[in-house]
């Protein structure tokens, strides 16, 4: 069974500073990896996804993530944080089930606070 660990529950960063959120996964086959963002009272929005190919993935809102198979990691980064990036971020791994399903397993999330 697949699992996802996000070691940091909370991160506080100053506006304009860089941000890195950690994600470690456990999955027996080639992983399909995702990062979602959830603003208060909102549903989840997909930031980026990795299926195969280039291990550095670009997403929306200036985010990028790097897949490192040797470390079982898929860390999310942003060079310069904006106040609007304050939200909760979830890493997820996808697995095909019964050759007809796309089951996502989410990590526990990292809440990002942005200081002015």
């Amino acid at each position: 069974a697949q699992s996802v660990t996000q070691p940091d529950i909370h991160i506080t960063v100053s506006e304009g500073a860089s941000l890195e959120l950690r994600c470690n996964y456990s999955y027996g086959a080639t992983p399909y990896l995702f990062w979602y963002v959830q603003s208060p009272g909102q549903g989840l929005q997909l930031l980026l996804k990795y299926f195969s190919g280039d291990t550095l993935v670009q997403g929306i809102k200036g985010f990028e993530a790097e897949f490192k198979r040797s470390q079982s990691s898929f860390n999310l980064r942003k060079p310069s944080v904006h106040w609007s990036d304050a939200a909760e971020y979830f890493c997820a791994v996808g697995a095909m089930i019964k050759a007809a399903g796309n089951k996502l397993t989410f990590g526990g999330g990292t809440r990002v606070l942005v200081k002015p």
Partner: protein
């Protein structure tokens, strides 16, 4: 393009009562998911439909939870009777199909409080 719609947005009930949540997916999306998100945790898949058939309900507590998608469009998730530990946000998501390349689009969720 309209997003995934859910109602109600908030619901407060007493334990042992019943409650139902409604979801309308994005038009044309064949796959529909219900997730439970307990405060401080990531979403957990409860049930997945492909059109009106169930693909995966392995984590659905079937003694109290039920879900249906009769015409392959709207879906209803029911809890009867509710327990205190059912307090959570219930998220509905939909995708065009079941492959990995098909993004899951999430609704705003229904926040359930059981007292």
């Amino acid at each position: 393009e309209a997003g995934v719609a859910q109602s109600p947005r908030y619901k407060i009930i007493e334990k042992r009562q019943s409650v139902a949540f409604w979801c309308n997916p994005i038009s044309g999306h064949a796959t529909l998911y219900w997730y439970q998100q307990i405060l401080g945790q990531g979403p957990k898949l409860l049930i997945q439909f492909q059109n009106n058939g169930v693909v995966d309900d392995s984590q659905l507590p079937k003694d109290r939870f039920s879900a249906e998608r009769l015409k392959g469009v709207d879906s209803t998730l029911k809890i009867q009777p509710a327990k205190l530990e059912d307090s959570a946000v219930y998220l509905c998501a939909s995708s065009f199909s079941t492959g990995h390349s098909y993004e899951q689009y999430f609704g705003p969720g229904t926040r359930l409080t059981v007292t």
